[in-house]
């Protein structure tokens, strides 16, 4: 009995010993002070990638070799994916702080995992099955550099002193898989060269101006640059063995970087969820967000200066909800409840469905409608209460409205007067005005959108979209009209469609 108890105690002590040894990195409760410091210093709004969110609850503390390592999970609000021949689709992020004595080094890392290896495991403590590259940032968004990791071993190809703390911390956890690790290791310094291949992925990110909410991230492509440099390598081999005799071949570091083309879309433009959920239309809208001319008009609806909002939506039941405009691909309303609505027809039962047109035509429609919205916005500034429907105005409101248009927008007033005020059969004046004054704007916006990939006739033909019942159109010769219509048919035939 006594013997058994002694054995039990001995076994428990041994177990405790083993557990203690294996738990050098025993995890202790979170440290509020470090968390607070990180929260204060982290400026996510200054990062190029505005798509990140920190899960502060996930803070983990690890102690090893007199260092304290704090790791916090960072994720993307909208998950982005890489397209690469070398890297895995998933990009991971982590916030890391390393406390050594009184010094604290903190980093935000962006981890790219090589194919055929484990994905970055969201910790730097267990990277033995990981190979990849970490983009390392300061907490204010400044990029420090890159750390290359191969099966848990971290290297800093650039010898950046600001990365040394991170590199040595990662290497504290490095466990060589090589059997030679069991015998004392000898070092040799080799003078060799390294080829650095940098793949730069390019992304277009559209964000809202005030909240920074990411609307979309679009992968644009990647470019490869290579550079060769001579480096001193410390090579490890078992003492007593022959060491390294063969000339060392080039070490190739494949590094992944990213470049962002950032687009800020004004958020006084209300994007209805029906537009957000339509990848085709939303894609065109987002791409147009990067076009100066289009943005210029969107900005006019900035709440600071305009009392009107612009709402863009897509109606799948367009044929039922807008029976009076069955043949239209899109409509723009005059202001009601301080909102101008642009509604796109996505009714699958209608031939006029916008989705049945090529993408370049969709872009043209967006530009066309945004110009209507701008004309309506201008007219509303001439009104005492943003209403521009004379039917709903008092006599005095009407007189003031007409005088204000005359004074503030004399050029537009000429068209309003001719087509609306001086006739017993008023007709649409906005298209007349647009055909004369805005076709150049439409063409310019389309060229920017399309990166000027086509000739002048292409953009000119598109600019007549929706303007063929105007005096300007009627002034064209039959030959000119035919040429434009033929160009449109060619665009319809050869254009890129969403479906």
């Amino acid at each position: 009995m006594t013997k058994t108890r002694v054995l039990n105690v001995a076994f428990t002590l041994m177990l405790f010993f083993f557990v203690s040894c294996n738990n050098e990195d025993f995890e202790k409760p979170t440290t509020a002070g470090i968390a607070k410091q990180l929260q204060d210093n982290l400026k996510l709004d200054q990062f190029t990638n505005q798509n990140l969110v920190v899960n502060w609850e996930s803070l983990r503390k690890t102690e090893k070799d007199s260092s304290e390592i704090y790791e916090i999970e960072v994720t993307e609000k909208i998950k982005s994916e890489m397209t690469s021949k070398f890297l895995q689709k998933e990009v991971k992020y982590e916030l890391i702080a390393v406390k050594n004595k009184d010094e604290v080094h903190s980093y935000l890392i962006e981890a790219f995992s090589n194919l055929n290896y484990e994905t970055f495991p969201s910790t730097i403590k267990n990277l033995n099955k990981f190979a990849g590259t970490l983009n390392v940032y300061e907490l204010n968004g400044t990029k420090i550099g890159q750390v290359v990791i191969f099966e848990g071993k971290a290297e800093d190809p650039s010898n950046n002193k600001f990365l040394s703390s991170l590199v040595s911390t990662i290497n504290m956890f490095y466990k060589s898989n090589n059997l030679t690790n069991r015998v004392p290791a000898c070092n040799v310094i080799l003078n060799t060269y390294s080829v650095e291949q940098v793949w730069t992925g390019r992304y277009s990110i559209a964000t809202l101006a005030s909240t920074g909410q990411v609307l979309s991230i679009k992968y644009l492509g990647e470019t490869l640059t290579s550079s060769k440099s001579t480096l001193l390598f410390s090579e490890v081999f078992p003492c007593g063995s022959s060491g390294i005799h063969e000339p060392k071949s080039a070490t190739i570091h494949k590094i992944r970087t990213e470049a962002y083309e950032k687009t800020v879309v004004d958020d006084s433009v209300i994007i209805d969820e029906t537009l957000e959920k339509n990848p085709c239309l939303y894609g065109v809208y987002t791409k147009l967000g990067g076009v100066d001319t289009f943005q210029k008009y969107l900005r006019k609806f900035d709440n600071k200066f305009s009392v009107l909002d612009l709402k863009i939506s897509v109606d799948d039941r367009y044929g039922i909800n807008h029976k009076d405009n069955l043949g239209a691909q899109a409509i723009t309303t005059i202001p009601a409840n301080k909102t101008i609505n642009i509604i796109f027809n996505n009714d699958p039962n209608l031939a006029s469905n916008i989705m049945k047109f090529p993408q370049i035509s969709i872009a043209t429609n967006f530009i066309h409608e945004i110009i209507h919205a701008e004309i309506n916005r201008q007219l509303s500034t001439a009104s005492t209460d943003t209403n521009i429907n004379p039917t709903k105005m008092s006599d005095s409101q009407w007189k003031s409205y007409v005088n204000n248009i005359k004074n503030d927008f004399p050029q537009m007033f000429g068209y309003y007067s001719k087509y609306v005020l001086k006739t017993a059969t008023p007709s649409d004046f906005q298209h007349q005005y647009m055909a004369d004054k805005y076709r150049g704007v439409i063409k310019e916006a389309l060229k920017q959108y399309d990166k000027n990939l086509h000739n002048e006739d292409y953009y000119d033909a598109l600019s007549w979209n929706g303007l063929k019942n105007t005096a300007a159109w009627n002034k064209l010769s039959d030959t000119e009209k035919t040429k434009i219509l033929q160009t449109i048919q060619t665009i319809y035939k050869n254009g890129t469609y969403c479906n």
Binding site: T333, S417, T425, P426, Q430
Partner: protein, 158 residues
């Protein structure tokens, strides 16, 4: 004194007369559900906070009803003269011509382009059973559209 009273009376009569010169015209349109129509012709539309009446299944004529209605005995139906959309187009032109002088007099050289909701007081009439019909005061929808972008669509894909 008598002269002043007469002047005031005439002024009053003139004012009323001139105000009455620009009048909305009441029109009545009969609404019948098309049994062959696969789509809803009468439904509540949240965005416009009212009931939409689509007069036809395959063409325009859409109205919004958002206020009270009256239910009347079927015997009174014969008192109403119904207009078609084509007739209403003619009536609209006639109204503008008839009121041109009055409009210019009231608003100056440039007169306001009243839309159908300014020109007409429109009522939809729906027979709901063999004893009753309902009369709805409605507004024309689509009058607040600044742009209706219509292009001939590409031919369908083969």
């Amino acid at each position: 004194m008598v002269r002043t009273v007469i002047s005031l009376y005439l002024l009053c009569v003139f004012s009323i007369a001139s105000a009455q010169q620009i009048e909305q015209k009441a029109i009545y349109i009969q609404f019948k559900l098309d049994k062959k129509c696969p789509e809803e012709q009468k439904f509540f539309y949240e965005k416009e906070k009212g009931t939409v009446f689509n007069l036809y299944c395959d063409k325009g004529g859409s109205f919004l009803w958002s206020s009270r209605s009256d239910t009347l005995p079927i015997s009174k139906l014969k008192n109403y003269k119904f207009s078609t959309l084509e007739e209403i187009e003619v009536l609209e032109k006639q109204w503008r011509i008839k009121n041109k002088k009055a409009l210019i007099k009231r608003y100056g050289k440039l007169y306001p382009p009243f839309d159908k909701n300014g020109i007409f007081k429109t009522y939809l009439v729906e027979v709901i059973n063999d004893k009753q019909f309902v009369i709805y005061p409605v507004e024309w929808r689509g009058e607040n559209i600044a742009c209706s972008l219509k292009e001939v669509p590409p031919p369908p894909k083969k």
